[in-house]
Symmetry: C2
Subunit: 359 residues, 2 copies
């Protein structure tokens, strides 16, 4: 019998690792009726696995949305509220968000606002959602082309993270999650950095321990700063330049994954860290080498830099025109709210483009 990591923080119960589903099954019996939200892919690849692992569970109704980020819309939120209403869900019912980040984001928002709040539990099925999106209470929908413009900070009753689902993942989903695993190692978990070692994500054979460690890192952060007032900001490492790169490619006909954008962003921001924080250049070299093992360099050139800077200025995190970054002080230690001059950011993108050496 597998033994998952179990943590009860009073407000949230976490079950993480092999055997999590079986171990947590008793949670579902606390509710008068249970509904499951999922997308088409989850229905195809994960639903049977889920229902088989929780044999006593009686689901009163299933709610489906299309796969993909475009489902995080007000129209699909209306669909979910309407479905809950039609299915007769009450405040003592439970919504299970079975899927990746899109499902837990919109599902948490809809549950949190249905009849002024019905309880929900996240059962993440992708690497990215298992170690990141399903943890921390950020929910929301996109609005007017702005990510998470409408949403809530609201806790799920539980997060049940079982690696059993990961067998169903396509390679690009592994890669996208791996960027955030790498980020957790860099900002707060030097031991995880050692465990990851000099391997691409394709070479990792045993994911269970990595997932438990990485999820615990995220839990540690959000437990003490749910509202992103201070320490939670370190999770933004790699994401300021990363988001700009992601938006840049979204406009092109070749969109990239969030993980690919964050991987590039981490290379840039590691370089910035070496120039205004104490991170050493040989660490920047090691970070760059390792990221390059899993992520091909993106096709960005000098002429894209002005647009990237412009995109960064529109970032939610930018205030009064000042760029505030979360940077690495050393491997496994990040700091937040470091003001960075635009010229240095531009140079960091050149460092990435030209595949230079930090010195």
């Amino acid at each position: 019998m597998n033994s998952p990591f179990v943590l009860d923080t009073k407000t949230i119960q976490y079950y993480i690792g092999n055997g999590a589903l079986e171990k947590s099954a008793k949670l579902f019996s606390d509710y008068s009726s249970v509904y499951v939200l999922m997308d088409e892919n989850v229905e195809k690849y994960c639903l049977d696995l889920f229902l088989k692992s929780v044999p006593g569970l009686k689901v009163r109704g299933f709610i489906k949305i299309p796969a993909g980020e475009s489902s995080k819309s007000i129209e699909h939120a209306v669909h979910i509220w309407q479905s809950l209403t039609n299915l007769g869900a009450g405040r003592d019912s439970l919504l299970i968000n079975l899927g990746g980040g899109v499902v837990s984001d919109i599902g948490g928002f809809c549950a949190g606002t249905y009849k002024r709040g019905m309880p929900f539990i996240n059962v993440p099925t992708t690497l990215l959602s298992q170690i990141d999106a399903a943890i921390g209470g950020k929910t929301g929908i996109d609005f007017d082309s702005l990510k998470n413009q409408v949403g809530l900070f609201i806790d799920s009753k539980a997060v049940i993270t079982d690696p059993v689902f990961l067998k169903t993942l396509k390679p690009e989903y592994w890669q996208s999650g791996f960027a955030e695993v790498t980020k957790h190692a860099l900002i707060m978990d030097r031991e995880l950095w050692k465990i990851l070692g000099h391997r691409s994500y394709k070479e990792v054979e045993e994911w269970n321990d990595i997932i438990i460690r990485s999820a615990k890192d995220k839990i540690d952060i959000v437990r003490y700063d749910k509202g992103e007032r201070n320490v939670r900001k370190i999770l933004n490492f790699g994401h300021t330049v990363g988001h700009a790169i992601e938006s840049h490619f979204l406009k092109s006909d070749k969109p990239i994954t969030h993980g690919q954008a964050v991987a590039a962003g981490m290379i840039c921001e590691a370089w910035i860290s070496a120039h205004i924080e104490q991170l050493e250049c040989n660490n920047v070299g090691e970070i760059t080498e390792r990221i390059d093992l899993s992520f091909q360099r993106l096709n960005i050139s000098e002429k894209d830099i002005p647009e990237l800077m412009q995109l960064m200025r529109q970032d939610k995190k930018i205030r009064n025109g000042e760029f505030k970054f979360s940077l690495l002080r050393r491997l496994g230690k990040a700091v937040h709210d470091v003001v960075v001059e635009p010229e240095l950011i531009e140079d960091s993108i050149r460092f990435y483009i030209n595949n230079k050496k930090c010195e």
Copy 2:
């Protein structure tokens, strides 16, 4: 200089009574930019009054919705989110909900979900919202013909209640608010019951003390039970039968106000209180007489009773088919979660219809 009642509960600041606006003006300076939500009537009758009372206030933008309950819709929520986005509101901005219950309900919901939560302050302009709707953190919109089907329990940063606005009210708004004032007296404030005395709402000359007292009653309740787990339920006195009556008339071509419905509901539920709680029949007589001074009897007949019972069964507060009421133990003291048999409810409606004497 007037001195309003001031209470700072750490999470919420209350300014209630004559002079509240002037006294609280400093609150607005905490925010980088300020936006005002209102309806057409408020713009016409209250906006100048408001802006004159807070002379230093710089409003970055006004957001308007049509007057009336039908504005509590997802379409108008989208309009508000879109307006905040277009006006460049951030998480450090402030939304002022200037108006009655519709404005604070939808405004609180939209602010509470905009960028995962921007602060808002309620400035209620009707008697009903001053002593009830603007206090207690219940926000929401109607959905699929269901009242407040989508919403949040979320606190405003402050409630600023200035009777100066009440001069703009039409008589039916006075009446509607007066039903809830009467309810507060009955469920928890015998002193207020004495102050109200044997007068119709038209005969009250000095409202300031009544508003402060009644608003404080509501604050006392919701401070200790925001989520309506126990004591807050006593606020439902008069509302189980009352809501059924309100829905019944909504379907007809002669809709009545919420206050008229609650007034009738209180007469029925006072009678029930005398039959399964210790309330005395002479108290029921006094309650009925006083309510009759302000509210005409509604046109309900014996043949409407089955439909009213059916409407009551659909109430959010009903669980497992059991009718649980909040009832009066004595004047100024209510209890909640009292199971009532359907036959007794039917008889209470007959008591109302036939204008009988309690015995």
